[in-house]
Symmetry: C2
Subunit: 730 residues, 2 copies
């Protein structure tokens, strides 16, 4: 197969991204790590995080080996799958894990260095923290594009000629998306349970009962809490966004292969278009990262502007660049597709702004939650849940509008919804998601730098560097929260659009599985045709994927329930682990005399062990459930049931995810608002009440909520990979 020369931009972008990441890493490592005490603390956190990650990867490796053997059996034994599947699955998982690992390695080296730099100036701290975040951002996109480029080059040597070649290549590559999703889910769930068990436990006994500040070295759970920030917020986030990034590119490529199957060389162009947009996004991200410069003695306002300039200019440039990329690529309807990307980007910005509105204490909703602290923790919880639920409205409506617009722009506003209009429109939805994630290099940098600043604060507190340093790291953290809103908007929005694109890929994969086993189907006119020739309406009618089919309806019920069940299991896991942590911390305060007076050192290790054991133990069941549900539904309810499941899971899960993330964020900031001196300030009745809110919000926003985005896509990925099984049995 002839690969167009433009494609080579993809591996080049990958190498550039990885080189820049390495360069930033070296620069960061060259900085001074500070006092011996700072190095010691950072060492504890680093070794705790690494030992956890090793444990985690052991468990995940077992799961991967089992699944890979299963896929190998399906591919070689039963011929239900294509022979590449087991390998693609493993590399996806491996690279996703690697992205998390590198991110965490960087973060644990960067925290003491950031704290040390913050001893001198605010902008010095920002520079180290942000560049370290950029290591993560660029590693994720670099590894992602590397994996995509390698597999595309390998597979294009094995499939030749006809229109099925690219369809087979792209759907095979989706399997590596399943590897990435599986890894990401384990990372998010395991890391999320780890970090929140430690955080909740530390807060309950430390802040509420013993009245000592956050990250105080007298708190036995404080090292576990700081380790948690790294394994949850950094490693988990890295694996998660690696999955989102690759998932959006791969599913769009697969949609392109189908939509343009009949259009000659247009098919190849449609397949590589999302990769090219992502590749150009890498260069624009690096450009944006360099725009984040700070002058000596910069104020908060300067820093904020500098960060905003970096991310916003990258986003605007990718919008402009998309027109050029698609024009020079010479794809049909390049103008319409470019507007699809614009509608995706606009949706991301709006969702980001809405998130900001509902979770920042500069606005009414969160202020009202703080105020509810005056009447106690119960009203704080009620208000927070109410706010979180209401906050689902704008993102859902925005995504709805973006779906319709990117669909219609891509098919020339064809409202008739012919088979062709449908597949072109779906490609438009996919490419909108790619646009949103194309500047991930920089948006992830602003996101990942938050936990680094947070950890730097922890290091400063434990090393007793004094109020001012802590103030600076807190300011850096707050800064990150503000600029990260847009990045979060893009991540949430693209997850929904990608999941939609995966629905279409599922249909394609079912057709391929039918083709492989020589099954035919009946089209709308009642003629028997080859599965590959079926249009989407033919397919939908043949499998009765309509909304009055009870299988579809039951599937939709189960999909919505799966999201709740998954959140419930992870919430319970955090609750259980946190209770153990509370008991252990109380035990230490009781039995080790002198801890609270600072005369005795607490046993940090036992708290780290509790979090590690809990995370390892508790992450397995929910994660396996996410893999099992689509398989069981496929066997019992067939294709119609699976599509119902995916739609129910997407609609219910997306809304639930937004609710949980925003409620958690709002509680966090409501507490911060009180701590800034409002409604009685630190130590007041309202403060205690808002701490309860923040504690409840921790697993909402850092365990259950973010895992849902992966769950939604993993269920689609599993369905796609297991299509052969579904076809054989139902």
């Amino acid at each position: 197969m002839i690969i167009p020369s433009a494609f080579w931009l993809v591996p080049i972008a990958s190498v550039v991204a990885l080189s820049m990441a390495f360069y930033f890493f070296r620069t960061m490592m060259a900085a001074d790590e500070g006092t011996p005490r700072m190095r010691e603390i950072a060492g504890y956190v680093r070794s705790g995080a690494m030992s956890y990650l090793k444990q985690q990867y052991k468990v995940v490796t077992i799961v991967f080996v089992v699944l890979a053997i299963l896929f190998a059996f399906m591919a070689y034994g039963l011929q239900w799958q294509n022979p590449w599947v087991p390998f693609a699955f493993i590399t996806g998982g491996f690279f996703s894990g690697l992205a998390g690992f590198f991110g965490m390695k960087t973060a644990t080296y960067a925290s003491a260095r950031t704290a040390n730099a913050a001893r001198k100036s605010l902008d010095g701290g920002l520079k180290i923290a942000f560049r370290s975040g950029a290591v993560m951002g660029l590693t994720v996109v670099g590894l992602g594009l590397l994996d995509i480029a390698i597999w595309f080059l390998i597979l294009s040597n094995f499939y030749e000629g006809d229109r099925m070649a690219l369809i087979t290549i792209t759907t095979t590559m989706l399997t590596f998306g399943m590897g990435a999703s599986t890894q990401a889910l384990f990372a998010r769930v395991g890391g999320g349970i780890y970090t929140k068990a430690a955080d909740v436990g530390a807060d309950i006994v430390g802040k509420v009962e013993a009245d000592i500040p956050e990250d105080d070295p007298r708190n036995p759970a404080t090292i576990a809490d700081n380790v948690g920030d790294n394994v949850g917020d950094v490693a988990g986030m890295g694996a998660d966004l690696y999955e989102s990034y690759c998932g959006s590119i791969l599913s769009t490529a697969a949609l392109g292969a189908t939509a343009f199957a009949m259009s000659g060389d247009m098919q190849m162009k449609a397949v590589i278009a999302p990769m090219l947009i992502a590749a150009v996004g890498v260069f624009l991200s690096i450009f944006g990262i360099y725009l984040v410069r700070t002058k000596e003695g910069a104020t908060m306002r300067d820093l904020l502007r500098s960060l905003a300039v970096g991310t916003n200019i990258s986003a605007v440039l990718i919008a402009v660049a998309t027109f050029a990329i698609l024009y020079f690529l010479g794809i049909d309807n390049w103008l319409g597709l470019s507007f699809s990307v614009i509608s995706g980007l606009a949706a991301g910005v709006i969702i980001g702004q809405a998130t900001e509105y509902y979770t920042s204490h500069s606005y009414k909703p969160t202020q009202k939650i703080s105020e509810a602290g005056l009447t106690g923790s119960a009203t704080v919880i009620i208000k927070g849940i109410g706010t979180g639920m209401i906050s689902t409205c704008i993102p859902v409506v925005t995504i709805g509008v973006a779906i319709m617009l990117s669909y219609l722009c891509a098919n020339g506003f064809d409202m008739e919804m012919s088979a062709e209009a449908l597949s072109h429109g779906l490609y438009g939805i996919g490419i909108a998601a790619v646009g949103m994630l194309s500047t991930l290099g920089i948006t992830l940098a602003t996101d990942a730098y938050g936990p680094i600043a947070d950890n730097a604060g922890g290091n400063a507190e434990m090393s007793e560097l004094g109020e001012e340093v802590r103030h600076r790291t807190d300011a850096l953290d707050a800064l990150g929260n503000t600029t990260a809103a847009t990045g979060k908007g893009f991540a949430i929005g693209s997850a929904a659009l990608t999941a939609l694109a995966l629905l279409a890929s599922y249909i394609e994969e079912i057709k391929i599985a039918m083709e492989r086993t020589g099954m035919t189907l009946t089209n709308l006119k009642g003629e028997v045709i080859a599965a590959a020739d079926a249009t989407i309406p033919d397919f939908m009618n043949y499998f009765q994927v309509n909304l009055m089919n009870p299988r579809v309806l039951v599937g939709a019920f189960i999909g919505a329930m799966a999201a709740f069940l998954f959140c419930g299991l992870t919430m319970e896991a955090v609750g259980r682990a946190a209770q153990k942590m509370v008991e252990e911390v109380r035990r230490q305060f009781r039995e080790i005399k002198g801890i609270l007076e600072g005369k005795a050192t607490p046993d940090y290790g036992s708290c780290v062990a509790i979090s590690t054991r809990a995370a390892q133990h508790e992450m397995i069941f929910p994660s396996l459930l996410a893999i099992a549900i689509p398989i069981i539904v496929g066997l019992v309810l067939g294709v119609a049931g699976v599509l119902g499941l995916l739609v129910g899971g997407l609609a219910g899960g997306f809304t639930l995810a937004v609710f949980m993330a925003n409620a958690g964020g709002a509680w966090d900031n409501a507490k911060k608002m009180v701590e800034e001196g409002n409604f009685g300030g630190k130590g007041s009745f309202a403060h205690k009440a808002t701490i309860v809110g923040d504690t409840v919000g921790d697993p909402f926003k850092d365990t259950s909520g973010p895992s849902l985005n992966i769950l939604i896509k993993l269920m689609s990925m599993v369905s796609i990979v297991m299509a052969g099984l579904t076809v054989a049995f139902s």
Copy 2:
């Protein structure tokens, strides 16, 4: 049109139910209301409740007048609707309101009488409370069947002959379902906000801050709290279940008219079958009510057995009776349809048992929430939310199995899903829902008697009747909670099945609207046919109601979001009102000297006024939103969007409703478990923590959760009534 003589059973059952209700009411009124203090307290509560209800009906009347004028314009001005719609809509609302009104009237007269009877013996209290609950149960079913019978007789005089006559009659009657739903939503939301604002406010200041027991006369919010139990739990529940009962019968009748349209006199039989099952259910309910007998000096165990015997025997008998009814009616596949009813009843029992398992402190989940109280309110909340989310699994899977079984039993296990199999199967789903609600006369009696016992307890406390009387009323309340589980299972399960049946009615209504305006559609073979001749698959293909149509997907997103938004708005409303209540109670404690020493009387009236104003003010927006969303989606996204909306709302809303109801129930009982002396007992750290859980759970289980069941059905009803608008504009 010739009405079969069997139909007359329906008005007879209605008259018998209403007569028995009147008889039980008279018996209750003949009992002694106790000491002057008891009468005085009861008088306060009664007048507070009545004055609230008057206010509420005023607001609702305005909404009804506006909507009725709109419908009249649509029917007479634009000919988009059938001329009966405005009248049917109004009677549905009127009867639903009446059911709530009678229930509340009875409850407010019964509470002091129950307390007085409980001064002598436990079984005396049970008798009065349960018979008063039965007044409500029988009034609801009696008024429901009356309205159905009258409208069926009227309309059958106006439509003659062809197969469209019964389809038109039954879909017209569904409009009165919309009236009932609208009234029910206002009653549940308004009543729910009222009662929980008072309850939460009273608990926060009374129990947590001032350390005085529940219902203590020193608490200024205590009268408002007791009024709230009546307007929320009694009047709200009455209107709600009236709507469920009529909705299930009417939607099944409509499905029967369509499914058997081509089967001659079978069509009429299919239409009256659900009415007959309901009518026989009335007699069995009365039989069951008489089985609930208590001997002098009965123990708790005796009473429990007696209540369980009454409800279970009624349920078993209706299962048996269904075979006889359908056999003698001579309907096709009577055996299969009877098994559909059995699968519905079995699902109701399983959901009830699962509810019991997750919310009773006899089982682990709730016990663990109590235990979490040892580590504070944050872990109580986390555990409760986790438990509630996990508890959605069994009900959803059970409903899924019931849907598949009742569908397959009704169409002779036709897996091919031809057009005929589909419509017969859907009729089976509807009739399963009717089976579940047919013994509502007694299940509602066991449900409604809970708030009556609760209020009797309040009266006993405020009249200072002593510990023993309060213990007895608490025992009665607890007893009610246990036996009410099955009733709740039936209510939840039937709501899901009815909502499914309404989806099919929506399709029918769209076809009628197209027919009215002379529009045609293209069937699967590509032929242009009359709308009335279109099968479900034709319809689905023509309107592209498949899961890859972006309009369907966007609709599903909005449906799931609507459920969250609605809950968020009602939660916030309770939070806001509760905060005002807390401030008012604190103000009284501060400003009126001597309240806490029992030397001064608090100003109960100002608390009643706060709840009333809040409920009136806050119920309007969420309720109107529920009406507006399906209309807007219909105009913007057309038929495909509306069906997506309804399915997304059903799957997301049902799961959310189960989550909220169970989390709330579990928190309530976790607190009770601590109060029984576990984990430190009353006044302990764990007690305070579980009170926070209970307080958060109050709006979960009594405001937002129960309103969702109505919301789901109301959105369908609105879509059905507005079908003409959707057809005209999209």
